[in-house]
Symmetry: none
Subunit: 186 residues, 4 copies
């Protein structure tokens, strides 16, 4: 029995990859809303109609690519089962290695679609790591979003401002502040 799951027509894969790569490249160059579907197709050497046979719009292309990231992060998460918010370091490292991509995803030039999606992803990861707050006036989701916002804004600032700090420093800052904050409510 051979591999070929369902004859994915090597060609299609190539087209999809080219589009994805083109989009990422363009995102590092200009604002999300300045990127037209035509731009992407030109860069990818793909006909515009071909684009539309695969995706509804550039947002769909982006979100499709997003699933990869999601999977990678979930994988990382598996490794660090021991520690609360153990995935954080993995994500910080990942963002550091792919600074350009993350600057495009999170930074000034990004679009609302991506950042919102990202926020959701982080919030989900965090939610799974936290117990219920002791204090009944404090809603569990409130804590989740507090931490998610803190983490993401810290990460975004770091990447976007091209700070000379290293991943260690960011993790250090995040843990140093988050642990007492959580200790106070959980």
């Amino acid at each position: 029995m051979t591999a070929g799951t369902s004859a994915p027509d090597r060609r299609v894969r190539r087209t999809l990859d080219a589009l994805r790569a083109a989009l990422v490249a363009l995102m590092t160059e200009k604002d999300w809303d300045e990127i037209s579907v035509q731009d992407i197709c030109d860069r990818a050497n793909v006909g515009r109609s071909t684009f539309y046979t695969h995706f509804d719009d550039k947002g769909a292309l982006l979100l499709a690519g997003f699933e990869d990231l999601r999977r990678q992060l979930r994988a990382h998460r598996g490794k660090e089962r021991g520690q609360r918010l153990g995935w954080a370091r993995g994500l910080i490292d990942h963002a550091y290695e792919q600074r350009d991509l993350f600057r495009a995803l999170l930074g000034k030039r990004s679009g609302h679609l991506v950042t919102r999606r990202f926020r959701r992803l982080i919030a989900e990861l965090i939610k799974q790591d936290l117990a219920r707050p002791r204090d009944e006036r404090i809603h569990a989701d409130a804590v989740v979003h507090y931490v998610a916002g803190a983490f993401l804004e810290l990460l975004t600032w770091w990447i976007d401002a091209r700070s000379p700090l290293g991943p260690d420093d960011i993790e250090h800052t995040f843990r140093r502040m988050t642990e007492p904050a959580l200790a106070a409510v959980l």
Copy 2:
């Protein structure tokens, strides 16, 4: 010396206000990018060319209106000079009273432009309240953005999810978590 050195021509004010109001109204109804300049003008009973004599684009109109908010917040801040992050309660109350507007500004339907601007505003407010961190591995701006992100995401979640919690609960949550976090680094 007479009153109107620049003779703001009552009419102009009326036009500007109508536009501002129209934009706010539309933002509570649909997504930022679904609002066209024509929509705004129709709603405000203003000619499209008139719009362009006053603003470059809908973003400019929004940011112009933003200054009002900024001033209000700065005023609130003055009153609470005693406490660190004293403005927070004022802003939380303000957001609560104008839920619809804030949902439009911060929530799902919002646009990247507004939220970024908002983030900057909050970060500035926070920066003025915080001392330098003791730990040299922790950058002052990192702390600022950590807190800003936490506060804003908490606020956004609260408003956007239409949580039944009251302003008290939100302030409580914010302070309860933020104080130990800051205590650990400042």
Copy 3:
């Protein structure tokens, strides 16, 4: 010598017939330019690429089918060798029996390609029946086209307007007018 020098592979015949039938059916339903190659293929249960292995475009398919009609008319013509324009009655009857097809070929919904082809066919038939005009100011082809236009427009009007007149009446009208006209110039 065996039958199939070119071994037309029964299948091919089936495909071609299906396409032809599908086109005719569609022509009775909608305008020529509203029929897409995909429409034809769907109707004929034939792959679009198969269509293109047999025809350059839908025009080619139509003209291929046209040859049948041509042959039928030539056959009719043979029978009536005695009378000038003797084929006319045959064609009128034929058009009457296949009203739907002829309405599609000649009528409002038809296309330029078909009607032009039809005009040429009629003109050829007529040309073979007419002597040279006596009057040298009158060109033979002028007479041919005069009669062809008269005949075709009469026929088209009759079929397209769904007139209750019968083939007899049409032939009568045509002969009654054409004979004196020709008598005047030939």
Copy 4:
């Protein structure tokens, strides 16, 4: 009271004229269906969106221009009130003088839309000139379409084949054949 009927905005007129001229020019160069709206706009130095603010499609542009022709013919008709089918000579002359335009309108490269419209126009003109047929088996409209078809096909052949015959010869042929034909039925 000044002229300006309703301030037709000189500019609009210029745009419309440019488009009309561009279409006519293109029709003398290529087939009707090979002309794209973009072609027309390029030729007329007009934005494509401007085209669509004035016309639904190229057909609408053509038909708008057609009204001019219609008016001209009706005017000619007035002059020749004396004679049956008196307008014919005017139209023949007109077609001769504007051979290129008429070749585009009627000839091989033309489209179904135009020729149908033209047929209708001629049929209307003829209808007003003819009495009812004596023979009850002969429908008045049948005679109208007979003559219309004869005239148009004669005219078309003459123009399209670039025959060296002059307008005199064509009118001569037409009258010489049509008069006995009509005499036989009216």
